[in-house]
Each structure stands twice: as C-alpha cells, then as structure tokens.
C-alpha cells in the first residue's frame, strides 16, 4: 500500500468523525502551544535577567571593604563593607601590577540630600573615576562624562541620571536644559555637565537615580577621608576573570599585611559567579514551566490513544473486511499509526502557531520580552510526532492483531 493511499484512507477516516478528531487534536494543540509559550516566556525572562546583570558592565570584579574589627581576638565587627580599608593606592597597585586588569575604577559613594531650585531629593552620590562610563556601560544622553582633568583638579561637576533629573527639575525638564544648571550637594554647588541614558533598574539599585561626581571631589568635599567604598576592575576577557580575582586577592592581602586569607579586610565579587547563579535559577524556572506544559502534552497523548482504541473497537468489522480482501498486518497497523500521527502532527503545527501567537502576545504586553527558540519548536514538533507513534502504536497493534473471522462476526 502506497503512502498516498494510506493518507487518503486517513483523510476519509478522520473526516468521518470530525468532532472527535477535532477534540482529540485540541489536547495536543494545548499541550504543544503551552510548551512553546511557557518555554519562550521562561527563556525571555532568563535572557532579560542575564542582560540586566550584564548591563552592570562586562567581565566585572567588584572589590568592597570587609568588616572592620577592633583589635584583639574577639573584636567587635562593624559588618561587611563598613571598614575603611581600600585606598586609591590599592586601586593604582591593581592597575599596575595585576595582569589582564584592563580598567580600574575607584568609587566613593554615599547618600546625600541634594537640592536644586527649591526642590530636593535624597539620592546616591557616586564619586567615580572617568573609566567608570566604559566599565559600567554608562552612556551619556546630553553633555559629557567626567574627565581626568576634572578628577585631578577636584572639579565640582556632576553627571546625573534621568530619574534624578526628573526628581529635581520636574517631569517636563529636557536633558539638554539640565546641563549647565547647578545643584547643591551637602551645601556645595556642583555644575551639571551631563545626563545619562536610562538603563532601567537592576535588582535593588535604580541605576537611573544617581549622581556621578569625580572621585577626588567626593573624597575631599563629601566623605572627607581618603578611603574608597568600591574598586571596580574590568578583566580583559571572561576567561581571565578567575586569574584576575586570584591576583587581586594575593596583592591586597600582601598590601594590607594579612597572612590568613579568611581574615581578609576586603571581599571580591565576581560578576561571572553572579551570572552563573542567575542563569542557573532562570534555567530551572524554564525547566519547571516546560515540565508543567509537558504534563499537558502527556495528557493530550493519552487522549489520542483513547480515541484510537475507541476507533479500533468501532471499526472492528471494517478491519476484518480489509483483512479478508488482502490487507496484511503491516497495512492495518500502518493505517492506524498514520491516523494517530496525522492527528498529532496537525495538532502540533496548530499548537506551534498558537504557542507562537501567545508568546508574541505576551511580548506585546511588554511584561516579558519572549524569545521563541527554534529548538523549542523543533522539540515540540518532534515530541508531537513521537507521541503519535507511542500512543498510536498500541491501538494500531491491537487492530493489526485482530483475527479476520472474529472481526467480521463482531457485532
């Protein structure tokens, strides 16, 4: 029996019972479309999280001061990050001595009350060195970022984030107009030289609600000491991050005269570690969504088997007749298998279309930027074909194994 004939037989058989065929297919449609939609939402969420972590800067290592301990074995700890142990000299040493440390940025940050034109806000004022813009992916919308000259000359200049600008100058303020105006931080006047492009919030920080001023200006006018709150180091490549981290640890332990690494007065945060834990969380999430959708696909598959078994029983006499006029076991089992596979493959195609539609719809709402991966589509389609074979196999075998005499007598 040729394939074309088998397909014709299948068409006649399936169209003879349109409602039942349609409802059976619906099970597969729902299964496949939920796999596609949920996996695309999961992957979209994962890539969203990953890109927002990467927007912090690529190949980034952040060195923060450790806890400060008073002298003695049981000294009082003030908590991590509060010690004043990092200095510009440390930053310079890293820049000159650690291999593959492409850029080093020193930061002095703190929260201050900021006023302008009678309004005021409380925001993070970050004293940064000029490399900050490249290391942390900060782009300038209007004006310029801080320069080396401004840093070394303790210039009272500021670059503000778009949220801060709105807070200070009102929602109607244009970035171009803000440049050149004056704000007061801790009663000192700073001139706005630039406004950054919006980056969106990441985690607990709103990267748009920031004021950047030169590091040295921040030390002299705001913190009043020579310590740094953070040193950002950009490694040359993602491969060299571990080496850079190890070298920084060794260098700073030596510089701070600490022999026991567990008593280090600083800590190094590796962005790669953060990324890997974030991506492992989001891939678990995608897996979970996929598993839930997979269950509905399984239920759909059992629906197919149920229908095919009913069909075999209903068509027992037809099977007997076909066998009497020369159909072999293989002809009969192929016919029922093709019927089951046709249901799942059509259901699969409709399901992929529906799933893609749902995914695009979610994308349109702007909640999550979904991404329909070719793998998910191929997998869903493959799974639907496999379901057709697996759940069609048993009914087909039952049909093929019928004794023609008994089948013809079946009432």
């Amino acid at each position: 029996m040729k394939l074309k004939d088998t397909l014709e037989e299948t068409y006649v058989a399936l169209s003879a019972n349109k409602t039942r065929s349609g409802l059976t297919m619906l099970g597969i449609v729902i299964g496949i479309s939920s796999v596609i939609a949920l996996v695309s939402i999961g992957q979209g969420a994962a890539s969203g999280i990953t890109s927002s972590v990467q927007s912090l800067g690529s190949n980034l290592l952040q060195i923060s001061p450790g806890a400060q301990r008073s002298a003695g074995g049981f000294g009082v700890s003030t908590g991590r990050g509060n010690a004043e142990t990092l200095t510009q000299a440390d930053a310079d040493a890293i820049a000159s001595q650690v291999q593959n440390a492409q850029a080093v940025v020193s930061e002095v940050s703190g929260r201050y009350q900021v006023t302008a034109k009678g309004t005021n806000t409380n925001t993070t004022v970050d004293g940064v060195s000029p490399d900050y813009a490249t290391v942390r992916n900060v782009s300038i919308d209007q004006g310029t970022f801080i320069t080396d000259t401004q840093n070394s000359s303790y210039a009272k200049v500021a670059v503000i984030g778009p949220t801060t600008m709105t807070d200070l100058f009102g929602a109607d303020e244009q970035a171009a107009d803000a440049v050149g105006q004056t704000i007061r931080i801790k009663s000192m006047e700073f001139k706005i030289i630039g406004v950054t492009v919006s980056k969106g919030s990441s985690g607990f920080n709103n990267q748009d609600d920031m004021i950047y001023i030169p590091t040295l200006s921040a030390q002299r006018f705001l913190s009043g000491n020579k310590y740094l709150t953070t040193i950002d180091v950009q490694a040359a490549s993602s491969d060299s991050m571990t080496q850079v981290e190890d070298d920084i640890n060794t260098l700073l332990l030596a510089r701070h005269n600490i022999s026991d690494p567990t008593k280090a007065d600083f800590s190094v945060l590796n962005q790669a570690d953060l990324l890997s834990s974030v991506s492992s969380i989001s891939s678990t999430l995608t897996l979970l969504l996929g598993a839930i959708a997979g269950i509905s696909l399984l239920v759909g598959g059992i629906g197919i088997m149920n229908m095919m078994l009913t069909t075999v029983t209903e068509r027992t006499r037809e099977i007997g007749l076909r066998k009497a006029i020369g159909a072999k076991r293989a002809d009969i089992s192929r016919q029922f298998l093709v019927e089951a596979m046709t249901l799942t493959v059509i259901g699969g195609v409709v399901g992929i279309a529906l799933g893609a539609g749902i995914s695009l719809g979610v994308n349109y709402t702007g909640l999550v930027t979904t991404s329909i991966s070719l793998e998910a589509v191929a997998l869903a389609f493959g799974v639907s074909a496999v379901i057709g074979i697996v759940f069609g196999w048993y009914p087909a075998r039952r049909a093929a194994g019928l004794n023609p005499i008994e089948a013809l007598r079946y009432e």
Partner: protein
C-alpha cells in the same frame, strides 16, 4: 482448481474440544458454480473460512491452483486472499462513507496496482456486476441492499480471482432482490467462466448453483449436480 483432502478442524482442546469438520474431501474444477449447503452447526462456515484462506485446517490438505495453502502463515494467507480469492459477505460488505468506486478499488490498493489501472479495472468490474456508471461516485451508505451486494461482487472480481466465495450473499435481501443478485452470479459463471462457491443454508438459494454439496455434522452427506434446474432458473432470471 480447488482440491481438499480429509480436512478436519478442531476448536479448543481436551474435554472441551469440538470437531467442526470431520474429514471433508472434494475437488472443484475451474468454472464450476458450487453451493455448499447445510443447517447451522453443520460446519459450513468453518469450511468457508478454510476455503477462503481465512483459517487453516487442523489436518488434511488444501491445494488452491496447485499450491498447498493448508500450512501457511497468516501473512502468506493474506497474500493468497489478495491474489486468488474474492469475498462477498452477508452484511457489512462495504466501507461506510466511501464511494462505490473506492470500495471496489480497495483490493487493488492493497495489491499495489497503480491509480490509472485501478480505476479502469474497477469500472470494468462494476459494469460486469450490473452497476450503472451514474452510481460509481455514490457513497456506500446511499445504496440499496441489492446495489451493495452487486458492488461487493464487483469488488470480489476486481483482482481477477481464481475463486469467488459468497457467504450467504442474499441473507439480508428480500426474495426479489436476492434473485437479481443470484442471477448476477449465474451470469458471471456462465459468461465469464468464474469459479463461484456459494455458502447458504437455504435450499432455494443453493438451487441456483450447478452443483450442491450438503454438509451435516462436519461431514459431506451429498454432492450432486443438477444441470436442468439451472438452465430453467437461468432462463427465468433472464426473462424476468
């Protein structure tokens, strides 16, 4: 040519064993029209299943066209049915919701005959079974009982079988329609030289054949030819 020797068929085993055929032998030459008659329980259905290669005998031999088919496997029997036997059943003869033409082409589809050839042979077969061309594309459920049996006859003929086996073909028909169907068999036998074996429990129906084999309790009780009756009935069928 059909040659069966000492065919027995036993169902079950041990105490519950039941012997449906207790040693049946006969030969049927090409071009014969034979009725196998007997009351229910006489073993005629079992004999029909064996003749139609739907089942194999417990012992004895069955040669169809010189080939021993009594020890064949299911798959080999399917092959024999496809090439050498045409069936006409009492009921459920046609696939539901399928056109007349497609029903007749079905054996050719399984035989792997190409589409063009299939249609040509199916049409020829339908015409020789007395169907008119305007009915060829009707669905099987739109036909009358007599038409259904004629389509079934056409299907039985389409693969040019050595043997046409009809199992109570008039069982579900009224007398008049039954006569027409039996007349079709007679015509095929007389004009086309088809070998036909008719299984029935009604003497009236059996009388249409040229030879009647009567079974009782799994054994042949009589085997006789009656030419005159045939000529007479055939004449009647033609004039009516």
């Amino acid at each position: 040519m059909i040659d069966i020797k000492d065919i027995t068929k036993t169902y079950g085993s041990g105490d519950t064993a039941f012997q449906a055929l207790k040693g049946v032998s006969f030969t049927i030459e090409d071009g014969e029209f034979v009725a196998i008659m007997g009351p229910s329980g006489s073993g005629k259905s079992t004999l029909m299943h064996i003749l139609g290669c739907l089942d194999t005998p417990t012992s004895g031999t069955y040669h169809l066209d010189g080939k021993d088919v009594s020890k064949m496997s299911d798959e080999q029997l399917a092959e024999i049915r496809k090439d050498k036997i045409g069936f006409v059943f009492q009921s459920f003869n046609l696939l539901p919701r399928t056109t007349v033409l497609r029903n007749v082409m079905l054996p050719l589809i399984y035989a792997g005959v190409n589409e063009h050839e299939r249609e040509k042979r199916a049409k020829e077969s339908l015409l020789s079974a007395g169907m008119v061309e305007s009915h060829f594309l009707h669905k099987s459920n739109e036909l009358s009982g007599g038409q259904i049996q004629r389509v079934a006859i056409a299907r039985a003929l389409v693969n040019d079988p050595s043997l046409v086996l009809a199992d109570e073909p008039t069982g579900n028909l009224d007398t008049k329609t039954g006569e027409i169907v039996l007349g079709t068999f007679q015509k095929l036998n007389k004009e086309h030289g088809r070998t036909i074996v008719l299984i029935t429990h009604e003497p009236d129906v059996a009388e249409h054949a040229k030879r009647i084999i009567t079974l009782r309790d799994g054994m042949i009780v009589s085997d006789k030819k009656h030419q005159q009756k045939i000529a007479h009935l055939h004449h009647e069928a033609q004039t009516s």
